[in-house]
Symmetry: C2
């Protein structure tokens, strides 16, 4: 025993393990009806490689080839542009397999095999290397090709294409140099199309192209086929870190370390003659979802001709006519593929001398409407189940359906871009003040309200306008929040525009001038500002949409409520499927013309008596609003948040408003101004607001609770069921909640005894300050429910004012310092971690603590998923985001169930 | 066995357990050389009761008596003003023991025992019930007393005192009613002193007093001694919730549920004649600490005469002359007591017919200077050890020693009160602008700068003024922070004053007018504003102070650093014992006249080139400052924080400044104004500041790092050791730190290679945003050190702007919604919990992560203790608070060691 052990050790020491190790597998072959890869290997083979492998395994005719893995690409970059050990040997080996499968030989002058080289990452990505076709051609193999096809013109046409593609894509020569040379020759011949050039012309083209190549690269066009191949592979790898690819990944949140695969495949030719062709298609209509083969083709052409748009593709019926066998094979194959993938597919094919070859398949991109129809149809066809149907729809895409949008076929002139604050599109004449907007609306004119930034006093004008455009502010600025709440198209923070409000015009980049009355179009989904009136198309909310929503409701665990401030909002919310109101911002009711006067009187009173006099005027109006909202929401819970913003938000700003108010109140304008000034705050976000107002001016909250409870009791007497939930904002210390809770209960009990009615109500709090989350165990004891106010929580956790973040946050996102705007998707490691902590601490004290969220995040799909994960009971969002939240909630439940299942299986 | 068990059960059932239960012990006896209580039982017996028990046990002559416990008091309130079961019985029983000990009988006409009743809570507390003496007197016992003392005048004198005290203190009759009656009788007799009244006069007094009593209470003065006793006990209990006591407790943070004890003690009489007397004293001088008996007495008087101040007490030598035996007993006893308590004591005594009785002992209150001297002396006397000496000094009190203070003997006219923002006192003529302050200082005039609020541009004027008074702002407002930093007396948020800057005067409560040039005095320790020039006394920082500091340094674990912005600050900090700089706010160097121009030019430049031009002007000045600070701090670490505040803080505000700048920069004033406006922020605290500036304008941080490292390298070449620690402010996301750290290292390496010098430096971050604390595990990996910026952390955790909190925070403290101002002492459950979390997460990743604090809390004793507890390495505070921090740190270490020891003992 001992001896053996010693021996082993010795031998281990003697041999170097590195030399011994077998190379990693970097190359996966497909061909002759069998592939080493499969569609499950997208990470390793990229989307294209995985699709080619899968098709091969399915018995679909695919020209033989192989895929070099993404791991090889990553290893290449890690070792400073050197192939990982063994990769090139594997490439050579698989070239041999390909030659065998095709019965031809790469670089063989007599029977030349040509190949294409294509990049193929996990995600389809513009900016990655385009295709290089016809690799392996040189003067010798060209002769072989001509002999084989008996088509000299085809041979030279293929050769000039290789030089162009290789020269431009692999070697980086300006493609225009080749194009203009070709154009000159066509001019000389006085022809228009490439196809009109004859063999001699093409020979001249090839000679001229080779000269260009030499001038630009200082070396001859390579005749060694394997050198061509190697340089092409390097170019594919290199394109992963090309500028456009990097930018695209940044924009779409794709990690830099995924790498790209490289596909090397035998050439088949759609350009041999009239018995050949090439085409692309979708298995169903990507725009409507209709179950109908949606494809186009070109006869006697290579794939690049379709993409380049030089010739107009023909309807697929043309293929049926000219090559019926190839067409019927194609139909059988696309149906087989769709059944196999159980999804709508995007395919590419080539017909070489009547024989069909498939070159690509992948899940097809589609519009929102199409996504819904395909999902619903496929469930009906029993191809997929409801869960799969739900998981397949992108909730963010649903947004398209809920708002008017610009006709995708319309030609528009985009002149500026801001932040896409509230989706949809709007067309109207420019106005610069809220009053002008309201007046225009009264005359049935459609207007766009353009402001440097909006303030609460602009609400009327915002409601009257078709859309809102601001020069300042971020995704959660006043305009953005109110716009989304109203479901109104809104573009904010459009830095390129410079507004001259008094002179009634704005400039764009100091260049274009847009005057009052000029028409513009806003695209709130993209943030684009467009000159003139673009054609809009309107949303459809029936049929497939309703079916998918119904299915989503079957699976989701999270309830979905709405943030509404008026009875009208409440009605819209119900139509979208709201299961209650998660946030009624009572202060939003304060801005209407008649009310604001009373509110201002309250704020500017010197004593409690004065405030109470003013509050008595506000109370009936507020009560009436509550009656309206409660009635719309009968039987469903309604969370009323007591006054939250700092009082100075309600103050008059102009001299005239001040004068009017002074006259109304019978005080001097000087006193009003002094008071106005005294209410100024350095950081209003962190100032005298929320329950701090309730504690220092209890009469305000008393009035609001009274209005709520009187509304509820009066409806209860009419047998309308009302479930008021009274919410205390900005609690930081449990003592604040204790005092406010006592106040609410005292007033509520007074009202209940006055009406002799037992309306049940609950009292809860916003969790919107870090301290509330941290001390959740103390706070839970005094709250019936929590609603996470993630807007303010994000501001305080990050120390980031959403009104001021515009100056650096966009840069942070661009520079990838932050992955996402934390005001759009919950910042899980920061804000999210604190929420989770608060949930756990709170539920430990009170098991049945009801938990929700009412920040803007309530309508963001990834945030909804997070809320589901940490066990909230509901999310609340603006009415127009409710369908998104419903779908996202269902997906979250299904994803979690899936994960739990796979955990259980382990 | 079984039978017996059944029987027992039965009997248990038959009797009501309540009746069976032995009453709780509510009464503790002392007398005849033995007591049931001791000095350890302060919670239960109150300070006075515990002292009486302890003295009795020590064999000191104490008139017999007993103490009703604080538990009885609490039970009394809990059961709606009913004595707890058994208490009264225990009182009666102990009255018997007292009678036996004294050989007299309560209410016995022949041999009457009289008693005093006094309150006595755990903490001495003004507003609690005063003493009622001579209880038990009525017409019958009065005769007995007269017979016993053979002194009719004494008898009636005692009786009229009882009626006055009982009537006013127990029954709430206005004492003035008795006093004026007494005065009238003295007038009639044409005498001045009570002692000049004869027996008949006093008899008349008693009759008149009884009449007053009847008129006021509608009942006769009680003759039942036990009724007198009961009513007096109720009055003691009741006084616990008297308005003054409640207010005092609120002010001093004493819990409402402690309750008071009630002491009932046999009377001894200092007013029987010339062989009797009474007195109070301290075992050492409470004002200087000198080891010298410091006492006063009155011959032929009761204790209340000393307190009332009717007669001027005599030096204790008088007692020595008239009653040498009593005096020598007193000396022996006070020495014995001091040796026993090992502390300076406050005592009360009475001599009855030459026999000495002790009535009270407790630890004596003392000035800061006295506390130091006594502690140091007692260590020398081997009475206590150094640890005890250190634990005995109140760090907050030390503050008194470090600043000039108002002579406690000066009569001053306090006209307003603000927040005590920076301690000490200042006298000067009022000025209203920083410029006026600077001009006056140039003429050697002493001024007080009075501003609505200060801004960074006032720095020069603040430095020039003796003290600063502001009408607005809280404890961490600009004026407060800068004032403390400068060690300059400062009173902020003085709401009573209304400043008319242009007219050069301010009013106080619309009443008093103070004009420019008028003298005022500020007390920054109390927040008082005083008219005229009060007499000041100056601090002493040698001798005992230095000794205590040295001892503190032996025990503390926390290092103490200073927040300094200039070389001058640094020198002061070193004098106070700073072990480095924890925070150098580089932006504070930006405000000086020459520099601010360059800074403004930088901010208002349109492009990087313009900024770099301006930065090149600032760089040499900044470098020079660093050279100065590094030189002062040679061999000690200096933390340089890169630019933190929002840029607009540096902008010009007045039209004139704007014009000058526009001329300097050669741009139009309109452009400057536009830029100025564009830099406005809604919530600058949460805006474009800290490392957000460093990321968007890297050239600023590059300049600052270059200035730091060049300064360090130049000194290193002169063999001066420099330890720069470069600190990145306002990090919220690890990526911010990564980028800034890379920038610092890049520039630092450049400088090091330029100088060919290896100055070691570290790069760390402030933890001042909740998100940084929450993601401490990510951040620690890229930081060599953390410094908790608890000012901003408190603002963001609480969602509370310190500049705006003035409108509600004082109310929150008053109403006990918050126990403490979270800007003064770290809010442990909120901010503290987050700090602890960050420490744990950070150290888990990086064991040797250096941790400190540089918020204002670094100089607050309870916050220092918290920092010690969570394991920070150092605290940093303004130079003038360093001694406080050193002492607090030592106490924290000693307290924790004590706790650890007692835990180990379990």
């Amino acid at each position: 025993m001992t001896k053996v052990a010693i021996k082993k050790k010795k031998s281990a020491k003697l041999k170097k393990p590195v030399k011994l190790a077998k190379s990693k597998k970097y190359v996966y072959f497909f061909g002759s009806g069998k592939a080493e890869g499969s569609s499950a290997m997208k990470d390793l083979l990229g989307g294209k490689g995985a699709g080619l492998a899968e098709m091969t395994n399915l018995g679909v005719p695919v020209p033989a080839g192989f895929t070099i893995t993404t791991e090889a690409c990553n290893a290449y970059f890690e070792s400073n542009m050197k192939y990982p050990q063994g990769m090139w040997e594997q490439v050579l080996e698989n070239m041999k397999r390909m030659e065998k499968a095709m019965g031809m030989k790469f670089g063989d002058p007599d029977n030349p095999l040509l190949v294409s080289v294509r990049s193929g990452a996990k995600f389809s990505m513009p900016g990655m290397m385009d295709t290089v076709l016809n690799l392996g051609l040189n003067p010798e193999t060209l002769n072989g090709l001509i002999k084989w096809t008996n088509n000299e013109r085809f041979g030279y046409d293929s050769y000039r294409r290789l030089i162009t593609m290789f020269g431009s894509i692999v070697m980086g020569i300006d493609r225009q140099k080749f194009e203009s040379t070709l154009d000159r020759i066509k001019e000389e011949k006085n022809v228009h199309l490439d196809t009109e050039l004859d063999v001699d012309d093409l020979k001249r083209v090839c000679e001229k192209f080779k000269k260009i190549y030499k001038e630009e690269t200082k070396s001859d066009f390579p005749t060694d086929s394997y050198l061509q191949l190697k340089l092409a592979i390097n170019a594919v790898f290199g394109s992963w870190f090309g500028e456009r690819a990097k930018k695209y990944r940044k924009l779409h949140g794709i990690a830099d370390n995924l790498g790209t695969a490289c596909n090397i495949q035998s050439m088949v030719f759609g350009n041999i003659g009239e018995n050949s062709g090439t085409g692309v298609g979708f298995t169903r209509d990507p725009s409507t979802g209709q179950k109908k083969f949606f494809a186009e083709c070109l006869i006697n052409a290579q794939g690049e001709d379709v993409v380049a748009g030089i010739r107009t593709p023909l309807h697929i019926e043309e293929l049926k006519k000219t090559m019926p066998k190839a067409y019927s094979d194609l139909v059988k194959i696309y149906q087989k593929l769709e059944k196999h993938y159980k999804d709508m597919l995007d395919i590419e094919f080539t017909v070489q001398e009547k024989k069909l070859y498939m070159l690509q398949t992948r899940v097809g991109k589609r519009t929102a409407a199409s996504a819904l129809k395909i999902a619903v149809d496929m469930v009906r066809e029993k191809l997929i189940d409801k869960k799969t149907a739900i998981l397949r729809i992108d909730p963010a895409q649903i947004d398209q359906l809920l708002h008017p949008m610009i006709d995708p076929n319309a030609a528009v002139k985009v002149v500026a871009k801001g932040l896409p604050a509230s989706p949809g599109a709007a067309v109207g004449k420019v106005v610069f003040t809220a009053d002008d907007a309201e007046n225009a609306a009264a005359n049935n004119e459609k207007v766009i309200l353009v402001r440097t930034e909006t303030s609460p006093e602009d609400i009327g004008g915002m409601a009257a306008a078709q859309g809102i455009l601001t020069a300042r502010g971020g995704m959660t600025s006043h305009a953005a929040v109110v716009g989304r709440g109203m479901g109104k198209c809104c573009v904010v923070g459009c830095g390129a525009i410079d507004i001259h409000e008094k002179e009634k015009y704005f400039t764009i980049n100091d260049d274009i001038i847009v005057k009052e009355g000029d028409s513009i179009t806003l695209n709130g989904t993209t943030g684009e500002v467009i000159l003139g009136e673009a054609q809009l198309i309107t949303p459809i909310l029936k049929g497939d949409f309703q079916i998918i929503m119904k299915w989503a409701d079957e699976f989701r665990k999270l309830r979905v409520r709405a943030n509404v401030d008026t009875p009208k909002d409440a009605r819209v919310a119900r139509e979208f499927g709201a299961e209650g109101v998660g946030l009624c911002r009572t202060e939003h009711m304060f801005f209407e013309a008649e009310r604001i006067k009373a509110v201002r009187e309250m704020i500017l009173s010197d004593d409690k008596e004065g405030r109470e006099r003013a509050l008595a005027k506000i109370m009936p109006m507020q009560k009436n609003d509550f009656i309206g909202i409660f009635t719309e929401m009968k039987g469903l819970p309604v969370t009323i948040r007591l006054l939250d913003p700092p009082l100075h938000e309600f103050l008059p700003h102009t001299e005239q408003e001040l004068q009017e108010l002074a006259a109304d109140m019978g005080v001097s304008i000087e006193r009003l101004k002094a008071k106005n000034k005294a209410l100024h705050e350095f950081n209003p976000m962190l100032g005298h607001r929320g329950c701090r107002l309730g504690i220092t001016y209890p009469e305000i909250y008393e009035m609001q609770v009274r209005a709520t409870m009187e509304a509820a009791c009066e409806l209860a007497q009419q047998r309308i069921k009302v479930i008021p939930e009274i919410m205390i904002p900005l609690v930081g210390h449990v003592n604040e909640l204790k005092i406010m809770r006592a106040l609410v209960i005292r007033v509520a009990e007074e009202v209940r005894s006055k009406y002799k009615t037992r309306v049940e109500y609950t009292v809860g709090t916003m969790i919107e300050l870090p301290r509330a989350a941290i001390t959740s165990d103390e706070i839970a004891a005094h709250a019936d429910f929590y609603s996470f106010g993630t807007n303010d929580l994000t501001q305080t956790v990050y120390g980031l004012s959403r009104d001021d973040a515009g100056r650096f946050l966009p840069y942070y996102i661009d520079a990838k310092i932050l992955d996402d705007d934390p005001f759009i998707s919950i910042d899980e490691p920061g804000v999210g971690a604190l929420m989770k902590y608060a949930v756990e601490k709170g539920r430990a004290v009170k098991k049945n603590l009801k938990l929700g969220i009412c920040g803007e995040h309530g309508g963001d799909p990834s945030s909804v998923e997070f809320c589901h994960k940490i066990g909230l009971n509901y999310v609340s969002c603006s009415p127009y985001r409710i369908p998104i939240a419903r779908l996202a909630a269902a997906q979250a439940a299904l994803k979690k169930a899936g994960k739990d299942l796979s955990k259980a299986a382990l």
